[in-house]
Subunit: 219 residues, 2 copies
Amino acid sequence: MKTVGVLLSGCGFLDGAEIRESVLTLLALDQDDIKVTIMAPDQKQYHVVDHVKSDEVKGLERNLLEESARIARGEIVPLDKVEAKDLDALIIPGGFGVAKNLCEFAFKGHQATVQEDVKKLILDLHQNKKPLGAICIAPALMGLVLGDKGVEVTIGDDKETAQEIEKTGAKHFSTKVNEIHVDEKNKVVSTSAYMYGEARLSHVSQGIRRCVEKVIDLA
Amino acid sequence: MKTVGVLLSGCGFLDGAEIRESVLTLLALDQDDIKVTIMAPDQKQYHVVDHVKSDEVKGLERNLLEESARIARGEIVPLDKVEAKDLDALIIPGGFGVAKNLCEFAFKGHQATVQEDVKKLILDLHQNKKPLGAICIAPALMGLVLGDKGVEVTIGDDKETAQEIEKTGAKHFSTKVNEIHVDEKNKVVSTSAYMYGEARLSHVSQGIRRCVEKVIDLA
């Protein structure tokens, strides 16, 4: 039985992992009889956003592992306890949490640094030819880590974001919400999901299902 | 186009709405081309639970509407602004949030009181013969509001909880996780979901999909 890691970055699309993308990733994996290891960094999240007003709430602190555990129903491990040898593949759902907590892409674009454990796990998996799935804005993270390998990704058709990602050395391919892009050489599969902010959940679900299936196929 | 309300009770199964059940409800509705109105009470949640340790975090406060908005991606309305005439049906995903925030079932069993706006909306919909869907522990809430109508529900096969629900006047029927129980007379559809705590997500998804489809069918 294959084990696929799912890396979360909080709980809520404005300051953490996109909840729906995370759940749909877990659903697709379970539908294919895949064992999952859900993980998140055990560290403070960048900030907290009120999801009614879309405004930052000053003075509040939350922890990424604790918030991600809400999606994981408590079955979660700290990222620094996970090694590439324990996984057959890794999938990273999107949400601003990826661009604010797992790296600084939201603030520094292609010049962003990547959280150390995140970078190490992605590089170790890549070196061992294990596939990576990147959803929504997570392909930007792939660019930051694997741009020098000319990694191919999609984040849909947002030109500005695509251009920023290409500055890492990555190549961007435009896709629709229910489509995926596959980089066979680097074994990176991506889908845009809620990068199309107005997308229908059922279409997001189709794209994520295809992404998960291709990752499993490559594992 | 039909409009179905989805009543949330926070974000995280130990102190709020069960996240996966909420997302799967929204997915099934979107797959059937149903318009949704996501709602939650604009009030303080009973307490906050650390989902890694399963322990209450003393001194922390969160708001139900703000936390539910994480699942709703900001597209949410305060419960007291929703009227039965605006909806063709209502579905309530589970999680301890239902039993701690929407009513007191977690603490007082069949003697629990129900949050006023929740009670009013359920009664108004019932009176207008509009169907209700209740997932996981939400059938206990149906018992508290519609027990005197002899409402029929399922929460799976947890005998103690079922007995407590029957003290409201409701009738309980045992089911498997991917099954539903339909009370045609009261137009109440229920499914156990994560009342089976170890259930597979794909099986929970099947039960919720059936529940949502039957609710739409009755609407």
